[in-house]
Symmetry: C2
C-alpha cells in the first residue's frame, strides 16, 4: 500500500502525493486529533483499560442533545407524524401538531418526506422563513425568493464561498474572517484555494470588532490578493461575544465603503445571555441605515436548526437569506444547488417548525414555551457559572460568555511547557489540551485550532454539559491547570 | 442592480462577471430550463390559464414518491419511533420496528437523532452496511472502516472527485465518464475544473461498454490531460442498461492495466428487470478476479436510499465503500468529511433499515416483502411497457429498459426541425422536448443534457408514473411525435 512504498513510486493512483493539495491543506480542529484520541480513550475505557478517570467528558463541540438536552416535544411529534402519516389517525397527538404535519406533507411531492423538494427548498417553508425574519426584524420585508434552505449553516456558507471565490495570484479572492474563527471558514477557504484574510477580535474588549483592525487587515490584504468578502459570526463562535448595534453599523458602513460582500453567520441568534446584550440581525441594522445601504450592500445571513434552544444538529436543517444579490447570480446559485438535488427534507420540515412554532392559544403552546425557556435559562446559568469558575483559576482569564455556547478563556502556559510542546512539534495549547484529556478525560479544543494572537493560548469549551457535570468539569480543569502550572514552573 | 448596468460597471461585488467561472460552466439538465418551464406551466394552470392539457406529467426525474409510489411501512414506522421515542411505549408498532429503533437510538449521542454522528457515519450503521455488502457479494469480506455514510450518492461522488482532482494544463486530472452520462458528473467536474473525458456507450448493443471505445477515449485524453479516474453507472442512468459480468471484468482489467481509479455508481442495484440480466457488483467481480486485482485496483462504490424499491430521495441517505485506498488518503477523507460534521442522521437511520431490513420470522417480514416485491414487479412491468409502446412509434427506437428507472429512446428529427432549433440557438432535442411540454404537458429531459453522439437525438423518460398515467403519457408522446414529424417534414 501507498504508505509503505517510497514516495513517488506507489502503485496506487490516489496517494497523499497525488491527491488534491487543497484538500491536504484543510484543517478542522473541532473534530481533529484531540477528538480522535478522545474516541480512542472511550474505547479503551470500555475495554477495561485503567485510567485516572471513568468517563470522557466531551466539551469540544456544540452538540446539545449529545450532552443530554431534550428535544422540543412539539417538533418531534410533527416529525413523527410526517414520517409515518398513519399516526394522523391516532388521538395521541395534539391538533396543532397534526395540522402542521398535514401542511408540510401537502407541500411535499406525493405527500411524502421521501420525495425530492425544489432545490431551493420547499415553497411553504421558505414562505414561513420569510415571515419569521420579518417578525424578528420588526417588519423589515423579506422575499421568500431570497431564502434558500440548506443542509445546516455549513452547507450555505460553503455554497456562498463557492460562488464568490475565483482568480489567481494577486487577483485571487480574499475572504476576511475573524480570529479566533470557527474553522469551517478556514477549511472551506483552503479547499477552494481562496486567500484567508485574518482580522483579530479584541480580547481586551470582550472579543469585540475594532474598525481600525478591519482597516489594517484589509490594507494588508490588498497588497497580495483581492479581498471581496467579510465574514462575521454573531453571537460569536468560539468566543461567545454578542456584538453591539453600533459595532454592526460600523461593519456595514465599512463593507459599503470598501466594496465587500457581507456574510453574517447568525446561527446563535437565540443564544444571548448577558444582561444588556441583545441580538441585532445584520439585515435589520442594514435596513435601519436607510436605502443608501439597504439598496446596495450585499449580505447573506445564515441560520440553522442546530443551535439556539432546539439543538437539532443531526437533522442538518438550515437556511440562508441573500440581500441585494445580482439576479443573474441568483440564477447561477439555483443552478448550483440543483446539482445536489435538495437539502434533506426532514431537516427542511424541522426548519419550518422552528420558524413557525406553536402560537398562543394553540394546544402545544404552553409546553413549547416552557421547554424553550427552561433550555435557554439553563444555558444562561451555565454561561455565568463557566465564566465565574474559570476566573477563579490563577492563570486563566475568561471573558463573559455573552452568547452562543462557548467560553474561550486565555490560559497562561509556563515557558517550560511551551518549550516541551515545541520540541514535540505541537502547538503549546494542543500539548496542554492533550495532557488534560489523558489525565482527566476532559476533551476541549486548543485555541490554535481557531487562531489566536501569537504568543497567546486558549481553549474552547462548550457550556453544554448538564450543570452537575459542568461543575465537575470546571473543578477538574481548575485542578489540572494548577497542577500543570506547578509541573512546568 | 447588476443586470441593468453595463457589464463591468456594476456597483455589486458579486456579478455574473466576477463570480467563480467554474460554477458558471456547470450544467444540470435534470433540473434545467425545461423543468423550470414545467413549474411555471403548473402555476399557470392553477391560475386558470387555458392549455391543451389539464396536468403536467413530470417524467424528468427519478422521484418515485412524487409519482405516487408508497413508502415501505416498516421503514417509516422505525423513523417515526426514532423521531419521537415516546411512541416506543405505544402498542401500535410491531416489536421488530421498536427493536430497530432502540438499536439506532442507542447508537446516537444522547439517544437522539438530533445529535451529530461521527463524520464517517454512525458506527453500527456502517457495520450493518458492511454485513449487507458481504451478503450481497456472496461472502467477499467488507471492512466497516471502508464504509462512509453520505448525503445521497451525489455527496459521495463529489467528495471522491474532490480528493482526486488536481493539476493544471496537461497534468490536470481527467475523469472518464460514459456518454450518455448522468449530469451530476459533468457538473461536478466543471465545478472542480477537471477535464471531462467522454467514452461513448454502444447504442446498437443496448448501451453496452466497448473496450475499444475505452481505449480510444483514453488515448485521446492522454494527449492533453492526465486521466486518472474511470466512472461507470450500472445499472445505467440515463440509459437503463445492465452490464454483463464479462463487461465488468473487462473494465476492471482495463483499469488495472491503465492505472485508473474506478468509481462505480451502483445506486440502481435492485432495479434489474430484463430476463437474463443480473446485477454484478464491481466489488464482487474484482475479488473474483483474484488477488492480482483485488489487492491493487482502487475502487469506490456508491449506493443510496433514493432508488431501488424504497425511492426515499428526500432523506438524502447513502453510503460509499472504498477498496484499496491509501491509508493516508483515508485519513484525509475523514478530515474532509468532518468539516461538514455529518450526513443527516435520519438519512443514516434509513440507510440502516435498507441494509438491515426485516428478516424471515420477524413480525414485519411478510408485509415488507410484499411491498418490496410489488414495487419492483410494477417497475419491471412499466419498463417493458415503455419499451414496447415507444417502439411502435415510427421514428422512435428504444433499447430494452433492462434496469434502473429510465428509457432513453433515439428519436429521428426532421431536417426542418433541426434547422429551426439551430436558428433559435437551441439543441434540436431541447426544441422537441420544449414543444412537447407546451403542447402536451409532458416533461422529459432532452438527450443533449446527458450527452449523445453527434447527429443523434434522444430524450430521457422515467418509467415511474403509475401504470395508467404512464400509458396515457406514452400515447401522448406517440401522438406528439407523429404530429411533430408531419409538421416539419
Amino acid at each position: 500500500m501507498g504508505h509503505n512504498t517510497p514516495r513517488g513510486t506507489s502503485p496506487l493512483v490516489l496517494t497523499i502525493d497525488t491527491m488534491n493539495p487543497n484538500v491536504k491543506n484543510v484543517e478542522y480542529a473541532v473534530r481533529g486529533p484531540i477528538v480522535q484520541r478522545a474516541v480512542q480513550i472511550e474505547k479503551e475505557l470500555r475495554e477495561g483499560v485503567k485510567k485516572p478517570f471513568t468517563e470522557v467528558i466531551k466539551a469540544n463541540i456544540g452538540d446539545a442533545h449529545a450532552m443530554g438536552q431534550q428535544p422540543i416535544t412539539f417538533f418531534r411529534q410533527v416529525l413523527a407524524l410526517c414520517s409515518y402519516p398513519e399516526l394522523l389517525k391516532d388521538n395521541m397527538f395534539p391538533e396543532d401538531a397534526k395540522s402542521r404535519a398535514r401542511r408540510i406533507l401537502q407541500a411535499c411531492g406525493g405527500s411524502s418526506l421521501g420525495a425530492y423538494s425544489a432545490s431551493q427548498g420547499i415553497d411553504c417553508v421558505r414562505q414561513d422563513v420569510a415571515r419569521y425574519i420579518e417578525r424578528r426584524d420588526g417588519g423589515v420585508p423579506c422575499d421568500p425568493d431570497n431564502v434558500y434552505l440548506t443542509s445546516g449553516a455549513s452547507d450555505g456558507i460553503v455554497t456562498m464561498l463557492k460562488l464568490l471565490v475565483c482568480g489567481e495570484g494577486a487577483s485571487k479572492t480574499g475572504v476576511m474572517i475573524s480570529i479566533p474563527q470557527y474553522p469551517l471558514y478556514s477549511a472551506a477557504l483552503a479547499e477552494l484555494g481562496a486567500v484567508q484574510v485574518n482580522y483579530y477580535l479584541n480580547e481586551e474588549k470582550c472579543w469585540s470588532m475594532d474598525l481600525s483592525e478591519l482597516e489594517r487587515s484589509l490594507a494588508e490584504a490588498r497588497k497580495h490578493c483581492n479581498p471581496k468578502v467579510l465574514c462575521i459570526i454573531n453571537p460569536g463562535n468560539p468566543t461567545g461575544q454578542v456584538q453591539s448595534r453600533q459595532c454592526i453599523e460600523d461593519v456595514i458602513r465599512f463593507a459599503a465603503k470598501e466594496h465587500l460582500f457581507l456574510m453574517a453567520d447568525e446561527v446563535y441568534q437565540d443564544n444571548v445571555y448577558a444582561e444588556g446584550c441583545q441580538f441585532h440581525s445584520f439585515k435589520k441594522v442594514l435596513f435601519e441605515l436607510g436605502p443608501q445601504y439597504s439598496n446596495t450592500v450585499e449580505l447573506v445571513s445564515f441560520h440553522s436548526t442546530s443551535k439556539c434552544y432546539m439543538g437539532e444538529c443531526g437533522f442538518r436543517g438550515g437556511y440562508m437569506e441573500v440581500i441585494n444579490m445580482d439576479p443573474e447570480v441568483k440564477a447561477q446559485l439555483i443552478k448550483l444547488v440543483s446539482v445536489r438535488l435538495c437539502p434533506a427534507v426532514p431537516g427542511q420540515a424541522l426548519m419550518d417548525l422552528v420558524v413557525n412554532s406553536p402560537q398562543p392559544g394553540e394546544p402545544s403552546y404552553t409546553t413549547f414555551m416552557k421547554e424553550r425557556t427552561t433550555t435557554l435559562s439553563l444555558l444562561a446559568e451555565k454561561a455565568k457559572l463557566t465564566e465565574e469558575i474559570l476566573n477563579t483559576v490563577p492563570g486563566i482569564t475568561c471573558n463573559p460568555v455573552q452568547g452562543a455556547m462557548y467560553s474561550f478563556p486565555n490560559i497562561s502556559l509556563p515557558q517550560k511547557a511551551i518549550k516541551e510542546a515545541k520540541a514535540l512539534g505541537q502547538a503549546p495549547d494542543m500539548f496542554y489540551c492533550m495532557k488534560m484529556l489523558e489525565e482527566t478525560g476532559i476533551c476541549l479544543v486548543p485555541g490554535s485550532g481557531f487562531g489566536q494572537k501569537d504568543g497567546t493560548y486558549h481553549f474552547r469549551m462548550t457550556i453544554l454539559p448538564p450543570t452537575d457535570k459542568l461543575k465537575l468539569l470546571l473543578a477538574k480543569v481548575k485542578e489540572f491547570h494548577q497542577k500543570f502550572t506547578r509541573q512546568y514552573s
